[in-house]
Symmetry: C2
Subunit: 225 residues, 2 copies
């Protein structure tokens, strides 16, 4: 089926059960009549991510699918998928952090697009952000725009990849969750910690630090506390 127009009624959300994609899911639920969440199982060290995704989509009554991407793990072993490699606390100055799975966002978004087209959906939501870029090349706006063009050429379909968090920092991502009425859900039910601890996490890994600093900045900037 060819589709030459945008379908503004429905979307697919690429959903990990973390802070960013949960905020995107809440955003999508305000904007679209039909929302479908897709998660990827690529041998993450913390299956807890998928448990969080299930709990959140159940609570929000959102259709949810998990896709098997274990092949990715075979191709690009790294510190988020192999328990024998330690996560670097700081990114090396001259390279991306070793928590990167090469091509991960490209593959996730392409699979999400194949799935979306089957359902007559054109809009795909992803929580990538250039603001907390951290050296990941596939979080950049220029990558997303190029990918959007390539997807449309590959499948002759009018995909629109939407990135509500592209230009906002973690503090404003907390603000967005709050505005959408989801602050408590994002605080307590999402998982972003590299050590697999839900909510506030271990407090020490790079992801927990970024999350905590963002939350404190949000409180200061918007809550006078």
């Amino acid at each position: 089926m060819k589709m030459n127009t945008r379908n503004k009624e429905a979307c697919v959300v690429v959903f990990s059960g973390g802070q960013d994609s949960t905020t995107c899911l809440l955003w999508a639920l305000k904007k679209y009549k039909e929302v479908v969440a897709v998660s990827f199982d690529y041998g993450q060290r913390h299956k807890a991510e998928l448990d969080c995704a299930k709990e959140i989509t159940d609570e929000l009554n959102v259709e949810w699918h998990v896709m098997d991407m274990s092949l990715l793990n075979q191709l690009a072993p790294n510190s988020l998928t192999r328990s024998d490699i330690k996560v670097q606390e700081e990114a090396p100055a001259d390279d991306v952090p070793n928590s990167v799975v090469d091509g991960r966002n490209m593959l996730f978004l392409t699979f999400a697009a194949v799935f979306a087209k089957q359902r007559g959906i054109t809009d795909i939501i992803t929580g990538v952000s250039q603001s907390d870029f951290s050296g990941y090349p596939d979080c950049r706006d220029v990558f997303i725009k190029s990918l959007n063009t390539t997807l449309n050429l590959a499948m002759d379909h009018t995909f629109c990849v939407e990135t509500p968090l592209m230009w906002i920092d973690k503090a404003d991502t907390w603000k967005l969750a709050d505005d959408l009425g989801g602050l408590d859900m994002v605080r307590h039910k999402t998982l972003t910690c590299y050590n697999g601890i839900k909510g506030e996490g271990c407090g020490n890994c790079p992801s927990c630090k970024l999350r905590k600093e963002g939350y404190e900045k949000f409180l200061k900037k918007y809550k006078n506390s």
Copy 2:
């Protein structure tokens, strides 16, 4: 590992065991010191394709890997992967043939690129051709160029996607195989037939007709017969 320069010594060939990719493999063996062939198992109706790929890479003494892409089949059921759907003999006037797996070339080339980067390889060879386009959007030159840009942005790597067959027809693909000393191999050991018959095939499916017409045109144009 970042790579800001092209590695002209090595390449990855996306290899199905058919006429086009076998010709590309022969082409690559003349051009590069190190050649690695990758095939994809996505639940093709004819596992014979992978048998041909094995036989050819064994004979040419080429390193060969098979990647599991069964997820693609779950997402986009169609006539090349499901035995309960009949292959259309002619493409419908208003749409692509139903033998298309949406996003197939994009996923294959992206997986090949992740694999190539792991090996420090930048060049990726694919046998797509705009000349015998047949309605497949992901065989077009504009798609390949867009994909190449997206891959480079996604992984911060200098991929060069090479398409030796992009602008030549089936007759000149036979000519290329002949020039490379591989005419007999391509005639007898490759599989392109939709009904899974090696070499000259069933003779009746759209793929066999295209192959045969090309071969006859090649004989007439270059062999005076």
